[in-house]
C-alpha cells in the first residue's frame, strides 16, 4: 500500500496518532504537503463520507476521522504557502441570534474543515451584523447558519435581509440547517440551500465553491 493510501486508511479508521506520525514522516521525506492533504487526508474522508451517508458509519466515528485528519492538518497547514490554501473557499458559519445550541453546528464545522474548506466559526448567538462583518472581513463566499429553536430560526431571515441591504447578497451563497429548519423554510426566507446534515452541508458547500 502506498503511503498516501495508508494515510487515507488511518484517517478512515480515526487513528489520530498514526496520522500524525505518518504525516510527519512523509513531510520529512520531502512529499509535497498539498499532495499529502489531497491524496492522503482528504482521500481518507472520501472513504468516510459515503459510508456515513448510507449508514455504515456513525457520528462518533466521523468525529474520530475528522480529529485524525485535524492532526495531519496541524503539521501541514504551516507548510503550505498562501496561494495553495483555499482562500477562495471561505465559509463563515454560526448559530443565529438568541440561539445557544452548538453541537450540530460544531459537527458541521468539523466536517467542512475536513473537506478542505477554510471555515470561520463565529460561535453561537451570532447577530446579523456579526455575520455581515465576518463576510466582509474574510471575503467569504458561503454563509452557513444554524438554529435549533423555532423562535430563533426567523433570525436567519434577518441575516439574509441585512446581507441584501449591505449589497452582499449576490456575493455569497447561504445555506441553513437545524432541527426546525426545512427546505420550504429555506425557500421562504430566500436561502440558497437547506442542508439536512453535516455531510449535506459539505456536499452543498462543494457545489457552491466549485
Amino acid at each position: 500500500m502506498s503511503e498516501f493510501a495508508q494515510l487515507a486508511q488511518f484517517v478512515y479508521k480515526g487513528a489520530a496518532p498514526s496520522v500524525k506520525e505518518l504525516t510527519q514522516k512523509m513531510v520529512d521525506s520531502g512529499t509535497s504537503p498539498m499532495e499529502i492533504i489531497t491524496n492522503g487526508l482528504l482521500a481518507g474522508m472520501d472513504i468516510v463520507s459515503p459510508k456515513f451517508k448510507n449508514g455504515e458509519m456513525f457520528v462518533p466515528e466521523v468525529m474520530m476521522s475528522a480529529r485524525a485528519l485535524g492532526e495531519g492538518m496541524k503539521i501541514l497547514k504551516p507548510l503550505i504557502s498562501g496561494e495553495d490554501v483555499s482562500v477562495a473557499k471561505t465559509i463563515v458559519i454560526g448559530t443565529v441570534s438568541g440561539d445557544l445550541h452548538d453541537i450540530g453546528k460544531n459537527l458541521v464545522v468539523m466536517i467542512l474543515e475536513s473537506g478542505g474548506f477554510n471555515v470561520v466559526d463565529l460561535g453561537v448567538d451570532v447577530s446579523p451584523a456579526k455575520f455581515v462583518a465576518a463576510v466582509k472581513e474574510n471575503n467569504a463566499q458561503v454563509v452557513g447558519m444554524s438554529a435549533l429553536l423555532t423562535t430563533t430560526m426567523l433570525n436567519m431571515k434577518e441575516t439574509i435581509d441585512l446581507m441584501k441591504e449591505e449589497g452582499l447578497r449576490d456575493q455569497v451563497k447561504i445555506m441553513i440547517g437545524g432541527a426546525p429548519v426545512s427546505q420550504s423554510f429555506a425557500d421562504e426566507i430566500g436561502a440558497d440551500a437547506y442542508c439536512a446534515d453535516a455531510m449535506a452541508a459539505k456536499d452543498t458547500a462543494g457545489k457552491f465553491l466549485k
Binding site: F58, L100, D102, L107, M153, L154, A179, P180, F185
Partner: protein, 266 residues
C-alpha cells in the same frame, strides 16, 4: 411517574399537514391513541408554524379537547403561544413547556405559570447557554429554583429537565444527566423531573435500545417524568418493568397489566 405524549408536534409531517388542512379528526385520533396507550399529559407543540403559531396552538388545543379530557402540556418557546394555549385548557392542571433561567424567558413565562397555576418544565440553561459541568448545572438549577419559589410555585409543580445531549457527540452526556438528577434530588428532594429521550441516541444505530436503557438508568436515580411516544410499546413495557423492579408497583399490578396488553411480545 408522569408520561407526556409527544406526538402532537408540527415538526412531524403528518401533524403539520393536519394543522394546515384543519384536519381535526386526525389530531383527535392521535390524541386518543396516546391517552389509550397510557399518556398522563399530551404535549402540544406547533413551533414550526412560525408565522401563525398562536392561531395553530389555539386550533390544536380546541381540537384535542373536543375528544379527550386530559391535561395538556403547552409547549413553545414563544410566550404568546403559551398564553394562547393555556387560556383554552379545560381539563386538570396544565403544564408549561418550558421555562429556562434566561432573563427574558423568566420575565415572560413565570407570570403565566402563576396565573394558570401550571406545572412547569424548567430547562437547566441560562443566558450563557447549556451548562458544561455538573457544578454549572447546579448553579442554574439553584438560581431558577429560587426564582420559581419566590413566586410561590410549589416544589411539586416544578419539573427540572437536565437537557440531554447526544452521547455520539459528547461522550459523557449520559453520565452528566445521571449526576444532575442525583444533585437535584439531594438539594431539592420534592421537585420532579422531565426529559425527552430521543436526543441521547442521536447519530447512533439501535437507538431504541439506547433510549430504553437510558429510561431505566435515569429512573433508577429518580427521574419521574418523560416526554415520549406512548404508543411505543417496547418503551412503555420497559418503563412498567423498571417501576416494578424499583418497588414502585404494588403486587406487580401494572407490570402484569402491561404483560396482558402484549407489551412484552417478542
Amino acid at each position: 411517574m408522569l408520561i407526556v405524549g409527544e406526538l402532537i408536534n408540527t415538526s412531524r409531517k403528518a401533524i403539520a399537514e393536519a394543522v394546515d388542512n384543519k384536519d381535526a379528526e386526525y389530531i383527535k385520533k392521535i390524541a386518543q391513541e396516546q391517552v389509550d396507550s397510557g399518556a398522563n399529559y399530551l404535549d402540544v407543540n406547533c413551533g414550526t408554524q412560525v408565522f401563525n403559531e398562536v392561531e395553530s396552538m389555539e386550533w390544536l388545543v380546541n381540537a384535542i379537547q373536543e375528544l379527550v379530557q386530559i391535561p395538556l402540556c403547552i409547549d413553545s418557546p414563544n410566550p404568546k403561544a403559551l398564553a394562547a394555549g393555556l387560556a383554552l385548557c379545560k381539563y386538570g392542571q396544565p403544564m408549561i413547556n418550558s421555562i429556562t433561567d434566561e432573563k427574558e424567558r423568566v420575565k415572560a413565562v413565570l407570570p403565566l405559570a402563576v396565573q394558570y397555576k401550571a406545572k412547569l418544565v424548567a430547562l437547566c440553561m441560562d443566558d450563557t447557554g447549556m451548562p458544561e459541568t455538573a457544578a454549572d448545572r447546579m448553579r442554574v438549577v439553584d438560581s431558577l429554583y429560587a426564582k420559581l419559589s419566590n413566586q410561590g410555585i410549589p416544589d411539586e409543580d416544578i419539573y427540572f429537565d437536565p437537557l440531554i445531549k447526544p452521547i455520539s457527540s459528547v461522550d459523557t452526556a449520559g453520565e452528566e444527566v445521571l449526576g444532575t438528577i442525583k444533585g437535584i434530588k439531594s438539594t431539592h428532594p420534592e421537585v420532579h423531573f422531565m426529559c425527552g429521550l430521543s436526543n441521547v441516541s442521536y447519530g447512533l444505530p439501535n437507538r431504541k435500545v439506547l433510549n430504553r436503557l437510558f429510561v431505566v438508568q435515569t429512573m433508577t436515580l429518580g427521574m419521574d417524568g418523560y416526554i415520549l411516544n406512548p404508543t411505543d410499546k417496547g418503551m412503555m413495557g420497559t418503563i412498567a418493568a423498571s417501576k416494578a423492579l424499583l418497588g414502585q408497583d404494588s403486587f406487580c399490578v401494572n407490570y402484569l397489566k402491561a404483560h396482558r396488553e402484549g407489551l412484552y411480545a417478542e
